[in-house]
């Protein structure tokens, strides 16, 4: 798996340059949370690109049986370990809770699948910084906007790329308390890189986690 140079630069210098819109003060308050389950093989690339852009990265190792935690730590991420597998949402909530404890102003839940480069981060943060929304959803089909919150929740696994979301601090607190259904949200289009492992397996995992996890 390789990121393309235009969307997900692997090199640290390029990674830092990919976020020119973020002022240092904003950047210092941005925390990236990644849920990982047996991702030893591919976590380094994603975490490297994020830590290379001087972002705080929290990886939640959700009960992995491989060396996911070590690989993430080597790349500069703080790692939380779930001693047993609890599902994607629970893992993200743990990571977000830790980010809040460390004073995060904005929290972004990022996808481990390598579908997105860090260039999506400014687009996710912009509506939050401008006060237009409390939650921003990275979606693959922005033209298909669904206004009904219940329907949006049901359809969300099919419409979104993994778990790409950005929260204000208040919204992140509500996400942790499972009280985020009524938050005001906007959807922003994100382009993804299709990888064989992410195209079907990722979507199925997402649906199963959301409905049964």
């Amino acid at each position: 798996m390789r990121f393309t140079s235009s969307n997900a630069p692997n090199d640290r210098r390029h990674a830092a340059a990919a976020l020119p819109l973020l002022s240092p003060s904003v950047r210092s308050g941005v925390f990236i949370v990644i849920a990982a389950f047996n991702e030893e093989e591919r976590i380094a690339e994603t975490v490297d690109s994020l830590t290379g852009a001087s972002l705080h990265v929290i990886v939640v190792d959700d009960g992995s049986s491989d060396e996911t935690a070590s690989a993430a730590r080597e790349c500069g991420a703080t790692v939380l370990r779930h001693v047993v597998h609890r599902g994607e949402r629970a893992a993200l909530q743990s990571g977000v809770a830790h980010a809040l404890m460390r004073g995060a102003s904005y929290v972004i839940t990022f996808d481990i699948s390598g579908q997105h480069g860090i260039d999506v981060i400014p687009a996710l943060l912009q509506p939050l910084i401008e006060g237009r929304a409390e939650v921003v959803l990275g979606t693959r089909s922005p033209t298909m906007e669904v206004r009904n919150p219940l329907l949006r929740r049901v359809l969300s696994p099919f419409r979104r790329f993994g778990c790409l979301r950005a929260f204000t601090r208040d919204a992140a607190e509500q996400f942790c308390a499972n009280d985020d259904a009524r938050l005001s949200s906007v959807e922003v289009p994100v382009r993804g890189h299709h990888h064989n492992h992410a195209r079907f397996g990722g979507a199925i995992d997402s649906v199963l986690d959301r409905w049964f996890g």
Binding site: R73, T78, V79, L80, R81, V83, V84, R86, A90, S94
Partner: protein
Amino acid sequence: MIAFQWITVPILLLLFVGTAAATARHRFTIRSGVAWSLFWLAAAVAIAWPDLGRSADLILYLVVVCMAIGFFVMFLRLRKLEENLTKVVREIALDRPLEPRSRE
């Protein structure tokens, strides 16, 4: 009594005795133990004396309803258990964050 009654009545009486004994040994709460004991006893009486009406049918319907309620209660308890497990796992994780390790 027909064969069906000879088979089911002893089984139901055994269930009644077993439930009552378990309740006496505090394996069940008093309330649920008494309720289940009365239920088995009523089922045995209804099947032993079917001229009470279509009692066996009534018992069957009651069993189905009780099983549905039982499954629902178990589902709620399992869900609560899952939530509590997640809380414990999260507390442990937040208590022991692993800081980044430098490769240099």
